[in-house]
């Protein structure tokens, strides 16, 4: 018989606090939805708007998952915004010069894999802070993107076929929403069900212990950077497909939001750990806020203020919950 001591639940308040810590962000999200539904029953709480939101958040979810993977090894990639911009520009360049559709999708992702790997290599080989490395890489990529475009938006000679994924729907579900769900499920699987995902979390949790356990720390970290960059580039391509054009700074704004989503996500499900469904929920909350506040005609700058305050509040709540433990 295995010697296990069952910890008896001392009180229901302990369970409630644990429930709140794990699902507090989800509950807050639901409350926000209820609030908007009550305030704008005619325009917010409709199926059309729900579908609309699912398309609006797709970019943020995908790039946020990229950020989450890098965060799982306790690193940061600040170049994902610039990477998304570059990805969109490369795709638009290829398609505008008559290249086949699949090449326009695959090449940006491959380029990003290489750039992400270089980021990882610099960080792991020379022990440079990922903060600095990827900040510099962001500047490099931004410069490169401007050189490719001359600073102008690419919109000429973009065939309709390129816009298919970004603009069309399958039945009433937007293609973008489907891609978002597929990416989320795929990376939930990779991060939680495979040995690779387990190793990433182990390295993020304790690098020395992982090294002693025989994990190839450098290789795995490089792979995390590569995947993060690849998802950023994919986001950029999807944005270009949605807009039918590629602007050299189109993705830059997503970078901060991606980390906001990932941090909101860390407060849900697996507490304190970056996780894929958490990031999904985080991105959804940010998306719902943007959507609901726009419907209520709150000016954009005010929306930014509210979103920022909510992220800070969520992180503080999580800290408090932890300390109370």
């Amino acid at each position: 018989m295995m010697e296990t001591t069952k910890i008896t639940k001392t009180s229901s308040s302990v369970q409630w606090s644990k429930l709140f810590r794990s699902y507090g962000t989800v509950i807050a999200g639901i409350l926000i939805i209820i609030m908007f539904s009550v305030l704008n029953p005619g325009s917010f709480a409709t199926l059309d708007n729900a579908i609309n939101i699912s398309r609006q958040i797709s970019f943020l979810v995908i790039i946020g998952i990229g950020a989450t993977i890098v965060m799982s090894v306790s690193e940061f990639d600040l170049s994902i915004g610039a990477m998304a911009s570059l990805g969109g520009v490369i795709a638009a360049k290829i398609i505008a010069s008559g290249g086949p559709l699949w090449i326009a999708f695959v090449v940006p992702v491959l380029v990003a894999l290489i750039i992400g790997f270089i980021n990882g290599w610099i960080v792991t080989q020379f022990r440079v802070l990922s903060f600095i490395t990827t900040l510099a890489m962001s500047t490099v990529l931004g410069g490169f993107t401007f050189w490719l475009t001359g600073g102008a938006t690419i919109f000429e000679n973009i065939p309709d076929s390129f816009r298919y994924i970004g603009q069309k729907s399958l039945g009433s579900i937007p293609m973008l929403s489907i891609v978002m769900l597929l990416v989320t499920i795929l990376f939930w699987y990779v991060m939680t069900q495979t040995a690779f995902g387990r190793r990433l979390y182990a390295i993020g949790g304790n690098e020395s212990a992982s090294r002693i356990a025989g994990l190839r720390v450098k290789w795995n970290k490089n792979a995390a950077f590569a995947l993060g960059a690849a998802l950023a580039a994919l986001t950029g391509v999807l944005m270009a497909s949605r807009l039918g054009s590629a602007h050299p700074t189109a993705g830059n704004g997503l970078f901060l939001q991606a980390y906001a989503a990932a941090y909101l996500g860390m407060t849900s499900f697996k507490e304190g750990v970056p996780n894929i469904w958490g990031t999904f929920v985080g991105a959804a909350i940010i998306g719902v806020l943007a959507n609901g506040l726009t419907i209520m005609e709150v000016p954009t700058f005010m929306q930014d203020v509210i979103t920022g305050v909510i992220v800070i509040a969520a992180v503080i709540m999580q800290r408090l919950g932890r300390n109370a433990q």
Binding site: M1, M2, E3, T4, T5, K6, I7, Y189, Q193, T194, A195, R198, R199, Y201, A202, G205, N206, S208, A209, S210, R211, I212, A213, G214, L215, R216, G272, V273
Partner: protein
């Protein structure tokens, strides 16, 4: 009247009685040498009189007055200062700036501007008074280790220092620099400052001290006058002469068995390990003993491949490796139980299951996914074998007690079915029961023709557990003794003889 007198000082850490009934006194203008083997309570004692730890019992008198020292600030107020082994300097600050850390910096009214001129003048005056040569314009990181020691010493002297505590101050100094330090110490004592001098280097203790206090197992084993002290006397006081190696422990003469691990002239790039050779036979528990800083952990790390090898080779089961890595080590069947399970042994935020299977995840993976059912089954089996007390395999390891955490570390290693164990302080901060279990387990493994290389700073443990003991001094293996014949006095003699 003594400057500092402590009576019946007591300190516990959980079950561990770090200090019990310590009484001693320090006189103004005198040097008290403090010696004791690793873990005898010297550091704990220093931390209590400098306000880092609060004692659980006993009293501290300062100039005959009862005092409570609850913070390092309190200690500074009284005039108690420490010169640390790890120096507390700000690398990018100049000598002058570092000198004024923690003291009032001369400033223009309202702190509008620092009076640099005044700052330098005072520092130069002190330098002259102490007869030191030191360029204070250099930043701390530009200074050599001994220069930094001098700087720290100067900083202490800037403040009104009544009692100066020196903890292994000469560890990084050359003989010449040591001379300078000694001269300064004599100057300080002439001015009435009391010195508490803690060192493993006996000749320094004998040279400097007026009195020598000997700690043993958290107790004060006695205070000697310098005239009545000699090396043999001090060492016999440090070791528990009443102590007898547990006769019940079985021992192996495995010298005829095949060699599992052979380390030949191994040295590390950072120079912490100087060319060292050792062998572990099948069926043997081999100990490595040395004082703090002798390079015990570093040697194990070099063998396991987490510290870069300069020269030499590691031969495991006849296969030679000139470059090691944890992957190679594990592949060859060698596991490492690191000293600090929190920072190196476990991923604290992960579950018992996730921790145990980490080194051999590929074994539980079908390529596409981890077979969690198989994983859970194996983990439960090992939890049962190792008697891990937990809610279940899904409990986070940070929630376990120290002893149970260490069992998880061992289960993780055993799951790998290793032929060689490298254990670094494997019983540190675990309860007595777990400690016994670990000893028994390692002996069982040895009896199955596996090899164990066992590092511990606990002299009694090493005598109890090991069949053969290598003694490490300043990065080199200097001696090899059969475990059954060795005594603690003998081991310490080797460690202290320079």
């Amino acid at each position: 009247m003594s400057l500092l007198e402590v009576k019946q000082l007591d300190k516990r850490f959980g079950l561990h009685h770090a200090l019990s009934q310590i009484s001693l006194s320090i006189e103004a203008g005198k040097v008290l040498g403090l010696v004791g083997e690793n873990g005898a309570g010297k550091s704990t004692f220093i931390k209590i009189i400098t306000g880092v730890y609060a004692p659980d019992g006993g009293s501290i008198y300062w100039n005959g007055q009862l005092e409570t020292i609850t913070s390092p600030r309190d200690a500074h107020r009284l005039g108690i200062h420490v010169l640390h082994q790890d120096r507390h300097l700000i690398p990018a600050f100049s000598g002058y700036e570092n000198l004024y850390l923690g003291t009032d910096i001369p400033q223009v009214k309202f702190g509008l501007r620092i009076r640099w001129h005044e700052m330098k003048r005072r520092a130069e005056a002190l330098k002259k008074e102490l007869g030191m040569e030191l360029d204070l314009d250099k930043t701390a990181e530009e200074m050599s280790p001994p220069e930094r020691t001098l700087l720290e010493l100067m900083r202490v002297m800037m403040q009104d220092c009544k009692l100066l505590i020196l903890d292994e101050p000469t560890a990084s100094l050359t003989d010449q620099e040591t001379e300078i330090l000694f001269r300064l110490i004599q100057q300080l004592t002439a001015q009435g400052t009391a010195i508490l001098y803690v060192s493993h280097r006996m000749e320094e203790i004998f040279k400097l001290s007026d009195h020598i206090a000997v700690f043993r197992n958290g107790k004060n084993a006695g205070t000697l006058q310098r005239e009545e002290a000699n090396l043999n006397k001090v060492i016999s006081m440090m070791t528990d002469t009443d102590y007898q190696a547990a006769a019940t422990h079985e021992r192996q003469d495995a010298s005829m068995n095949p060699v599992l691990l052979s380390v030949n002239q191994l040295s590390t790039v950072d120079g912490r390990v100087k060319p060292s050779s050792l062998q572990v036979h099948a069926g043997e528990v081999v100990g490595i003993f040395g004082l703090a800083g002798a390079g015990r952990t570093e040697l194990l790390e070099a063998i396991y491949g987490t510290r870069s090898i300069q020269e030499g080779e590691v031969v495991i089961s006849g296969k030679s490796h000139r470059r090691m890595s944890p992957q190679k080590a594990l592949e060859a069947g060698m596991v490492f139980i690191p000293e600090d399970r929190r920072s190196e042994g476990l991923v604290m935020g992960m579950t018992i299951r996730e921790n145990m299977t980490l080194p051999r995840l590929q074994h539980f993976s079908s390529g596409l996914y981890v077979k969690q059912r198989k994983e859970k089954h194996a983990v439960r089996q090992w939890m049962e074998n190792m008697n891990v007390k937990a809610v279940g395999s899904e409990q986070t390891v940070s929630e376990l007690s120290g002893g149970n955490q260490q069992k998880v570390v061992f289960a993780k290693a055993l799951m790998h079915e290793p032929i060689l164990f490298l254990c670094d302080e494997a019983t540190q901060a675990v309860d007595v029961m777990t400690r016994e279990e670990i000893h028994r387990l390692l002996r069982e493994q040895a009896n199955q023709n596996r090899g164990v290389l066992y590092v511990t700073s606990d002299i009694h443990e090493i005598l109890d557990v090991c069949d053969r003991i290598y003694v490490l001094r300043e990065g080199s293996i200097v001696s090899e003794i059969a475990g059954g014949e060795a005594t603690s006095e003998q081991l310490l003699q080797i460690c202290y003889n320079r």
